[in-house]
């Protein structure tokens, strides 16, 4: 199941869910469901829209040390993972995501093409939580 409700789909064509301001066309992610955050458009309609699943790498880093709770480590000892900030051209927005295990900073370069994938966030004996992640276009685990 998705690790967070209503932010992304896990169907055959998974994508992030944003909302669009009916007045300005501004896109909000995570999906804003109260009111448009474009100033002066509090009464605008908000419509769910699928977001682009490909973009350009805006910046990136990794987590060299295990983050504190509520982060749940997936291995013992801890293995660092990468975090990517990806710019979606049509939506003109930059969205964060982890990279799948196996992607290292050596695989990443600002400006490169990235794609959205659905991957395990964490797994317990009886459940698996899923998250969107960003990986280099066409990347496959070594």
């Amino acid at each position: 199941m998705p690790a967070v409700d209503g932010w992304f789909t896990i169907d055959d064509e998974p994508h992030l869910i944003g909302t669009r301001c009916g007045d300005t066309g501004s896109i909000f992610f995570p999906p804003e469901r109260n009111s448009s955050r474009a100033p002066g458009h509090l009464d605008a309609t908000l419509t769910d829209v699928p977001l682009s699943t490909r973009g350009r790498l805006w910046s990136y880093t990794n987590a060299g040390y295990q983050p504190p709770a509520p982060f749940v480590p997936q291995s013992d000892p801890y293995i660092p993972f990468c975090i990517a900030a990806v710019e979606l051209e049509a939506e003109q927005i930059v969205i964060l995501g982890q990279c799948p295990a196996g992607v290292t900073v050596d695989d990443l370069k600002v400006g490169m093409a990235m794609e959205l994938v659905i991957d395990t966030l964490d797994r317990t004996e009886d459940s698996e939580l899923l998250m969107w992640k960003w990986q280099p276009l066409g990347w496959s685990a070594p």
């Binding site: 990136y60 880093t61 987590a63 900030a85 003109q92 927005i93 930059v94 600002v110």
Partner: protein, 398 residues
């Protein structure tokens, strides 16, 4: 709109930064006593108390104004307690300044103090699926250094910053801090030592990133009339204060967010949020960046100090690396930055830090900064930013 009247910084004081293992009230009261002594007044002379909150020390931290009023002995004066993350101290300064400028009091106390846990700052306890500060740890494992590192990598790609530049910032600030008795780390570092420290968030290493510290800072602010009638002919003054928020769309990802604002429907503002922070203080005071002699900026990471050079107007966009390499921002240079040693030598004590920045400028403008003195300093500016969209800048002049 004309520039608001100056207000006098009559007294400043700090409790040294460190990991002392005491209650935050201890540090705050020590700083208050130092500031009162510096101003030459008694706490019964104080007519208003503005406390900057800490959210890591239970209820007394949320009501810092009252906590310190009680700790000194209730005198019945009004209080306020402010929170704006790292900008909390400037919000407290602004509350006190507004009270003085409105004519509602002549003498105000501003105080902030913190006791911090070791390691990464973590979100508040509990499961809070609608709190972005909790979700960023749960869903992304995104710590504060994650965001510092994204900015640092971006700077390397856009402007050719190098890890050596980041190390040079640490080396410079460490050298400044050697002469600061309130600094937690008073140790010289070489660039090689910085580059040999472990990677926390690529491209940032441990010695590129500030620690979290205990500490306390306080100041006594008064109207100019009160200062002069009590024999202070030419005090250091506050000329401008900025507590601005971003303008939509904010196209840079800010802690603790998952995304930037979209600029698909509304064009981005002329200035980025960080550039707008000090701009507002300049505009309010009528004093421009060309007149600035020194600055205290928030070097949460060494790389962020480079961003601030541009955002506070010391150089044009993309020129911060050149300014650093020229030596201009070291003591003895054209416009020293972080002569106190900055967060590199202090570590962050959230509600005290913005106040501590102004304490340093006050000592510098008085010529009382000892071995770290910036000669002839007349105008100084602070800059900092609190998560969730809090700008913080104070313009100080003789």
């Amino acid at each position: 709109m004309s520039a608001p009247d100056p207000i006098a910084i009559l007294g400043v004081g700090m409790h040294p930064w460190g990991k002392w293992g005491k209650n935050f009230v201890t540090y705050g009261v020590a700083a208050i006593r130092a500031a009162l002594a510096d101003a030459g007044i008694d706490h019964t002379d104080v007519q208003f108390i503005a406390g900057a909150d800490t959210v890591r020390n239970g209820y007394p931290g949320y009501v810092a104004g009252a906590t310190f009023a009680q700790a000194m002995g209730w005198t019945g004066v009004p209080v306020t307690s402010t929170y704006g993350a790292c900008a909390s101290g400037t919000m407290a300064i602004e509350a006190a300044r507004q009270r003085i400028l409105a004519g509602l009091c002549d003498v105000a106390l501003v105080v902030g103090a913190d006791t911090t846990p070791k390691g990464f700052l973590a979100p508040n306890a509990g499961t809070r699926g609608d709190d972005p500060d909790w979700l960023r740890f749960r869903l992304l494992g995104a710590t504060n250094p994650t965001y510092f590192a994204l900015a640092a990598r971006r700077r390397m790609d856009l402007y050719g910053a190098t890890q050596d530049d980041f190390a040079a910032i640490k080396v410079k600030n460490a050298r400044h801090g050697l002469e600061n008795p309130n600094a937690r780390y008073r140790k010289e570092y070489t660039a090689e030592e910085v580059m040999a420290s472990p990677v926390v968030a690529d491209p940032l290493r441990l010695l590129h990133i500030c620690a979290t510290s205990d500490g306390g800072a306080a100041m006594i602010l008064t109207s100019m009339d009160w200062a002069r009638s009590h024999g202070h002919v030419d005090p250091v003054t506050i000329r401008g204060v900025s507590t601005v928020t971003p303008t939509f769309p904010n196209t840079i990802i800010e802690m603790p967010n998952f995304a930037s604002d979209s600029s698909a429907g509304v064009a981005p503002p002329a200035r980025t949020f960080k550039a707008s922070i000090t701009h507002a203080a300049y505009e309010q005071s009528g004093i421009g960046p060309g007149e600035v002699d020194l600055a205290e900026v928030y070097d949460l990471s060494a790389a962020l100090e480079l961003d601030w050079y541009e955002d506070i107007g010391l150089c044009a966009e993309g020129e911060a690396e050149g300014l650093l390499r020229s030596g201009a921002t070291a003591i003895g240079g054209r416009v020293p930055v972080n002569p106190s040693g900055g967060l590199a030598c202090f570590g962050e004590a959230v509600p005290a830090q913005a106040i501590a920045q102004v304490c340093e400028l006050t000592w510098q403008l008085r010529g009382e900064a000892g071995g770290r003195q910036v000669e002839g300093a007349q105008v100084g500016v602070t800059a900092n930013q609190g998560l969730f969209g809090h700008g913080s800048s104070v313009l100080v002049a003789k």
